[in-house]
């Protein structure tokens, strides 16, 4: 059981990176604490798989150190790192039974047979594979095979971290939920450090204790799912998390007031005079913009979208598009309605980064 430390880890495939844009993975400093479940979330090409490969040993970072506990493992080969990895598609040994698959890592380490058998039975029970132990692994469904892949990693008692590289990619949607719950229960039972790479925010937010949001080779925000939702530190996080993402409007901010499209919006905190800064934006999630019958800002409804669970209205405040959560009954495309923006959940962003104001 150890924690994993990224000490100024960065990676560029070329030789000598001069510009920041030469880096596939920009310098990152982070400690993955033992026993936690982390998600590495981001769009394709954001560097999450590169980061995972650095941790697993497939890639040696061009800069920085990787520490397992206190040990520098940056150049240590994969097989000596005590990690387990589950890949995008099930990786099993076709010619072996399920039991033989699970026993394989222990056989290679020359453990005694009774020890191996006991361990295999334990892990099989945990993963609901006991009934299939003597079946050929080749004939099972994809989700069972992924469980076998995971089992092979867990069967070694010295494993310190389990890495997942988008493991639900080939799983039937109907079974994804089941497998996700199984992963969570395994995590709770074994208290292992788990790092889960995905581009699907639902997977990330339901699985992880903490999420590392990445974009363009950079770790943009690291925090609990709630933090990412209520307080995105970066406009990318606001846009990527949530469905739909956060609304952004250019604004002139001064004190506890912001001016958007000629209208005044009240803010929850007090800021300095940012009215001359062109890169200031106001960010507020559709969940915190509502249609009110009382006083509010006039917005014209352009489009109403019904998503089943919720309904959204695309409105125009002045000439700024906003997405608003609306109640079930409301219609009125073309109407002008009053919208109210919740000051407590409105954030100010300067050059895409959130600015903290003073409490009033």
């Amino acid at each position: 059981m150890t924690s994993i430390t990224l000490d100024r880890i960065a990676h560029s495939y070329g030789g000598k990176p001069r510009l920041e844009s030469d880096y596939q993975l920009k310098p990152i400093q982070h400690v993955w604490e033992q026993g936690f479940a982390y998600a590495l979330l981001g769009p394709s090409g954001c560097g999450k798989t590169t980061l995972l490969n650095i941790i697993s040993g497939l890639v040696i970072p061009s800069e920085g150190r990787l520490l397992f506990g206190d040990k520098d493992v940056t150049h240590l080969p994969t097989e000596q790192r005590n990690i387990a990895q589950v890949f995008q598609f099930p990786v099993i040994y076709d010619t072996m039974t399920v039991a033989e698959n699970l026993a394989f890592p222990l056989k290679n380490r020359r453990l005694a047979k009774p020890v191996i058998d006991r361990r295999v039975a334990e892990i099989a029970k945990m993963l609901d594979l006991t009934a299939d132990l003597n079946r050929r692994a080749r004939g099972l469904t994809a989700d069972a095979k992924q469980k076998i892949s995971l089992g092979r990693g867990l069967v070694r008692s010295d494993v310190s971290a389990v890495l997942f590289d988008e493991p639900l990619t080939v799983i039937d949607p109907a079974l994804k939920w089941e497998l996700r719950s199984k992963l969570k229960s395994v995590h709770r039972a074994l208290d292992l450090l788990m790092i889960y790479v995905t581009h699907d925010q639902t997977e990330a937010l339901t699985f992880a204790d903490k999420v590392v949001v990445m974009n363009d080779g950079r770790a943009v925000q690291i925090g609990a799912p709630a933090d990412l939702f209520y307080r995105p530190e970066h406009t990318f996080v606001g846009y990527f998390i949530g469905s739909p993402g956060m609304n952004f409007m250019p604004a002139g901010v001064k004190g506890n007031r912001a001016e958007v499209a000629g209208f005044e919006v009240r803010l929850g905190e007090i800021y300095g005079d940012l009215s001359s800064d062109q890169s200031v934006q106001l960010g507020v999630r559709p969940e915190f913009v509502s249609v009110t019958s009382g006083p509010g800002l006039p917005a014209q409804v352009r489009r109403v979208v019904d998503l089943g669970r919720k309904r959204l209205a695309h409105v125009l405040l002045g000439n700024h598009p906003l997405v608003v959560r609306i109640p079930r009954e409301m219609e009125g495309v073309g109407d002008v309605v009053n919208i109210s923006i919740d000051p407590a959940n409105t954030h100010v962003y300067v050059a895409d980064v959130r600015v903290q104001g003073r409490a009033p």
Partner: protein, 296 residues
């Protein structure tokens, strides 16, 4: 797991193939069948001979039967020898071949060269190469004291044809195995490393199972080609010395064209063809079994 729809309109897709191959295959076979049950007194007079040709052929007591028997076993032995050398050698070399960089292209071209040479040129190359006066192979073997003489020593002739076939066709096994190996995703090797597997374990548990399909194809192709071998032994040894390297195809050719013995030749052709059909059927069954076992 596989749910292919039933669609009999698919026959339209295969009609072109059917037409072309039918034309090339059924009509000639019919001709052969025709000849195999008739006897000729020359110049287009035929009369019915029933299955007499076949009975003679398959009876080792008759001259034609004995000859056929000999040629058959000779050819089978040859096929076996070649397979036993070429398949392991081909796989081993595919494992050693470069995977990255400029060496890949050059290696593939050089490896493939022996297969790209017209078969009579292959024969010609080795005709010269095995001579002790102007050929490196012949000179080297004689130089280290062996009684090597392709045209006079049966053992030399046999061994030479095997060497030629190995030189000529191991590349096919190498290319097929190499392509099969390259199709294995890296994740398997990564997982094996994490599991602490030894190099042999990786070979037996990952690489060999994943090569099953290409290996079945490689073995089938090689068996068939060695079973039907004609040009190379014809050019290098002419089937000799004596009948040491007279394989089935060469014998067939001699009987058909040399002795104008159409009936015997036709019967022999058909039996020959039936043997290849049987082997083919066996491999086909193996292939479909492998296919089926791979599914849920």
């Amino acid at each position: 797991m596989i749910d292919k729809p039933v669609n009999n309109r698919a026959w339209f897709f295969v009609l072109p193939v059917l037409g072309v191959v039918l034309f090339s295959s059924i009509i000639p076979v019919m001709t052969v069948v025709n000849y195999s049950v008739q006897d000729t007194m020359g110049a287009n007079s035929f009369f019915w001979n029933g299955d007499q040709w076949f009975r003679d052929l398959l009876n080792p007591a008759t001259t034609i039967g004995a000859r056929f028997n000999d040629a058959l076993f000779r050819t089978l032995g040859f096929s076996l020898a070649c397979l036993l050398i070429e398949v392991p050698l081909g796989i081993a070399l595919a494992l050693c071949a470069p995977r990255k960089g400029w060496a890949v292209g050059i290696s593939l071209v050089i490896i493939a060269l022996p297969m790209l040479i017209p078969w009579n040129v292959v024969g010609t190359i080795w005709q010269i190469f095995t001579r002790e006066d102007i050929g490196l192979f012949g000179a080297a073997l004689v130089g280290i004291g062996l009684h090597y003489n392709v045209t006079q020593e049966p053992i030399s002739a046999w061994m030479t044809i095997v060497v030629i076939d190995v030189w000529h066709w191991t590349p096919l096994v190498i290319l097929l195995s190499y392509a099969g190996l390259r199709a294995i995703p890296d994740a398997y090797y990564q997982a094996a490393r994490i599991d602490g597997a030894s190099r042999w374990a990786v070979f037996f548990n990952i690489e060999l199972p994943k090569l099953q399909k290409v290996l079945v194809i490689a073995v089938l192709l090689r068996f068939m080609q060695t079973f039907m071998i004609y040009t190379e032994p014809f050019v290098v040894t002419g089937g000799g010395p004596g009948s040491a390297t007279t394989f089935l195809s060469i014998d067939l050719d001699k009987i058909a064209l040399g002795q104008v013995d159409l009936g015997n030749a036709a019967a022999m052709s058909l039996v020959y063809y039936l043997i290849t059909l049987t082997v083919c059927w066996i491999f086909f069954t193996i292939m479909t079994q492998l296919e089926r076992r791979g599914d849920v």
